[in-house]
Symmetry: D2
Subunit: 344 residues, 4 copies
């Protein structure tokens, strides 16, 4: 049975593993203060064309998100997020355990709009008893979103502008950033993110690393003592170099992007098969996650040979999720496509 249920089901891309093997016997400084972490951080700053950004490696996405919240927020402040945002759905209350409310706004396609953020701020400011409510201070968006959709540069610019107008921090969770950066019609690059955000995440775990995410922090206000906050939350790894090495492998040539291109291509093949078979989609995703709506009988049929996620129960049909990765072979996609075309 081939699993399309996620993009973190295999180990590391072989080139990352190779780097770990080559350097295994070396002695380096612990806690991310080694030469490899420094080199990886330098490389990322270069790719972001931002010399002043801090780069901090953390083992996973929830850790990244809660550390950002802890660093950005005073006690009475909260996080604006789409209802579908990872911080609002699948982090077991990590933000709240850090003391802050997630202020969830409705979203059909996983995105927040600049207009929604503005309205939330005007509502807060206009509230005669705003001292009795949570103050929005951090905007959390995902690129791509949890539904695979992608913000355009224009949308990000508008969001960034409204954040600056209202003195909000803007954080882009890029746990799957590569897939957005290589999505069809994408017009956003790393320097854009470094310019428009206060902090953003370049995800590794879901893009071929064993583990590890790079938090890029252009905002000087957020850089101070950020590592102390990560340490306090249990996110400063003793052998931190493991993350530096993997990000070196991902960024010293274009591997980070090549992985995404492959996975996106595999995903688009699945999309194409669903389209041709006449199935609608929950959302239109140009990245490595596809959310077709399939009849129950077909879902049952496919489940015999493939593993994938049931996303939303629509009575006679199901929105499902197929997810591809660096490791997805074309043969598996072909089999899946054939099964979809064959129908129940």
């Amino acid at each position: 049975m081939y699993r399309f249920s996620s993009d973190y089901l295999e180990g590391a891309h072989p080139r990352l593993l190779e780097k770990l093997i080559q350097t295994n016997a070396e002695q380096t400084a612990p806690y991310g203060e080694d030469v490899y972490c420094r080199a990886a951080a330098d490389l990322i700053r270069l790719r972001c064309r931002n010399r002043g950004a801090a780069v901090v490696f953390v083992p996973g996405g929830t850790m990244a998100n809660l550390a950002v919240a802890a660093a950005c927020l005073r006690p009475h402040q909260g996080v604006l997020s789409a209802q579908t945002g990872h911080v609002n759905t699948h982090e077991a209350g990590a933000i709240e355990a850090t003391g802050h409310r997630v202020l969830a706004l409705p979203s059909q396609d996983g995105k927040l709009s600049a207009e929604q953020i503005r309205k939330a701020m005007l509502d807060y400011r206009g509230d005669p008893v705003r001292e009795h409510t949570v103050q929005p201070k951090l905007v959390y968006i995902s690129q791509p979103t949890e539904l695979g959709t992608v913000y355009s540069l224009g949308e990000l610019e508008q969001i960034s502008a409204v954040c600056r107008e209202f003195n909000l921090f803007l954080y882009v969770d890029g746990a799957r950033l590569a897939y957005a950066l290589r999505a069809e019609k994408n017009d956003v690059d790393l320097p854009d993110l470094a310019q428009l955000t206060d902090v953003f995440l370049i995800g590794g775990t879901k893009v071929g690393a064993l583990f590890g995410e790079a938090l890029v922090i252009p905002s000087p206000a957020l850089q101070a003592d950020f590592r102390s906050i990560v340490k306090q939350r249990g996110g400063l790894m003793a052998k931190g170099r493991l993350m530096g090495l993997q990000f070196l492998a991902l960024f010293e040539d274009d591997l980070y992007f090549d992985i995404a291109e492959h996975a996106n291509r595999m995903a688009q093949a699945i999309r194409q098969a669903c389209r041709e078979a006449g199935y609608p989609f929950l959302v239109d995703s140009p990245t490595n996650q596809q959310f077709p709506i399939l009849p129950n009988a077909l879902v049952a049929r496919l489940s015999q040979d493939f593993d994938f996620s049931l996303w939303q129960d629509l009575k006679d049909s199901q929105a499902v999720r197929f997810c591809t990765s660096w490791a997805t072979p074309f043969s598996a996609v072909e089999s899946l496509a054939a099964a979809i075309r064959a129908g129940a």
Copy 2:
């Protein structure tokens, strides 16, 4: 320059790395629910002769400690620890960020005694305004301690008895547990720990793993929803199998213990050299950390060729720490020993 500054300066023991390489392409269930984590957990339960214990893998020691505190404590309760305890010294306030006070008790050798715990409880219970104070509820001890010393079975039995008498949780932080289990004169084994504690840690990061610690939870009261708490704190790794695989490698034969035996032997050679040269020790450690007190001139001399930790400034001399690991070659120890014997 050879580094004796810690036991987590290299990558993984080759046999762990090998296991990761062999299984790299496999697809497995995420978040520690894969076959390797299950097999490793089973193996650990077997070694602990405790079928009912839960085993949860977390990436690092601070995460383990804060998750245990979060799982054990109600808001007004705190952690009894030796002043030297890791939770009290080098976790950037992780326990406090979880909402709880570390109640630090004085200790010369890194250990707490049953008598100290009993006294703390009698003081609390006898306090006419105890509602205005923090209630001790969790006892944190390290085996070996942060100073390399080791509790005897008798000491652990006494501590466990007093914890049960006063309805306290007992947690043994075994970030370096292997070194204690293989220390000269040690009379404690894994089944003892499983019987005497509510939760204990079998450390991987400092015993040859890339990362990863196994929390063993014999206490049914603590097992419930423990993984939710880990997830909430950002400690549930997507590719959780990486920890299962490494612990399989450590425990499917005696590798975990062999690593410790080697490192302990290397440390004892350093100890012997210091003794022969007439230098005293801060504490008497039978494990892989040695704390000799060396004259400043010798410290300066050794620093030219070796990296090690300055532990405590004693004016004309320094207590230093030398730490060995699975990777420490005998040749490096010989060089260090020779330099110590040679003097400044």
Copy 3:
């Protein structure tokens, strides 16, 4: 200008004040361990026909709510509440600052139904990744609700039953409890609450006290160390007797209920005036808060002579709130009623 904007705009009911004056010079034990607090607690237990309940006095409602959450919940657990619930709207993130998410469910009339709670629990239990989500554990309802509506005994029994089935704590926030207990058609009394809930609040601040709320805790599991949690949150008052004295005055005869009867009668007069003038209501409230929907012109007209809350902007009209108290004179209500009848 007469203010109908809240029920806590005056000082204390004269009989409470009198009691404070009479006893002012006495010396008593601090922190609520005095004879008056004990007598008041005994009296409340008697009224609740529950000898085993703990009674803890706290200065205000937000303190009561956050202390209950702190006492009930483990870190990964959250509070089920109607979207309109006070913990979800006007406590500046107090529950989140205690580490927990408010799981808000939709409500038109301020109430939660047993069915909603059951569905939330089935959703949680059926979620294949529930370890990544917040576990509902405490049900928060208000009696009367923030919209003045009242649960019937049947509704409370159903909610209580579903809470016990799913092992949830049930907390009834009775900041305005008196008004519900004396509402027309009410069939719930204090012994019912003591039997059906784990903890409930008998509010004082909004029923004639200077300040002070009585938390009644029938559940033995919640009684342990509850005062420590209140102390830790800054809610244990040095001169705690002030609350004991006021609750004595409220409960040694029927003053608590008499206050409510007066205020409810005043509110019903306002309701009657609105009805007669043909204005609809946001909700149908039998208690001391009335939410008529008035044309903007009338709102503007009334604002010249009265203070009241603008509750919801409906474009051409406004849902407003009129609130009455022990101190509301009939003459003020008559003036308001006349003005409503007169129209813009």
Copy 4:
């Protein structure tokens, strides 16, 4: 039996009570936004000769302390306090529940010195692994201290200077401030405090109020949203005017100081009696708390007629605490003095 066990055993000074009675029927804006709170805040600003200070009233001392910690500190930062400091001893872990460590420094007389603070900062800055430790950021001192001792202006100036040098917030907990301001040899006044601190407390509960403390916040950085933080912690009282009224009564003439003068004089009479009888003192206190060391037999004898606190068990003798207040009659002090002179 007369109680010398605390200064919060009676109700309010009659002039405060009178003010509450006079205004009881008035309707005012809630949550401290009424005319009385404004007038009291203005008066306090005037007395402090600081027009820019914010003044926020909170019901009690623990609330004040935890709100200040919450407002001042980022997650990895802690509070420097004398070991005897109230935040370190009798607040049930309130600071830790807010997420922060109390960094307790040794003190014999209840005071911190500028030198201790400087050393703590140099230690932190010089620590090669300071990212793994708690960063001191807030200095907590009490005036008078928990042992009744008083900082001189020179000492406060030195502490303030070192705080500014190291960019620390300075908070003076003045729960009993009046007694220090009127202590013999005191050379500190309110304008000094407003100039030297970032935030300080003018205590009411222990100086004749029913309840209520005034936080004076000269530091603009701390003023922002301070009330939101208080609301979130449950400390914003609905009938906030009660505190404004009481502080008006305390400060519209010199009542606040007169109360202290009386209580100090009563305490000095007790001190004199102990001295004359030849008993030593735990500390030399010029304020309303006296800590003589009395033989056990005398303690037993006095306990038959007086209530007071056993402070420290010294085997054959006890350090005890006698505390006086606005309400302490000279006759009671005379009786106590006579009993002390009479001996066991």
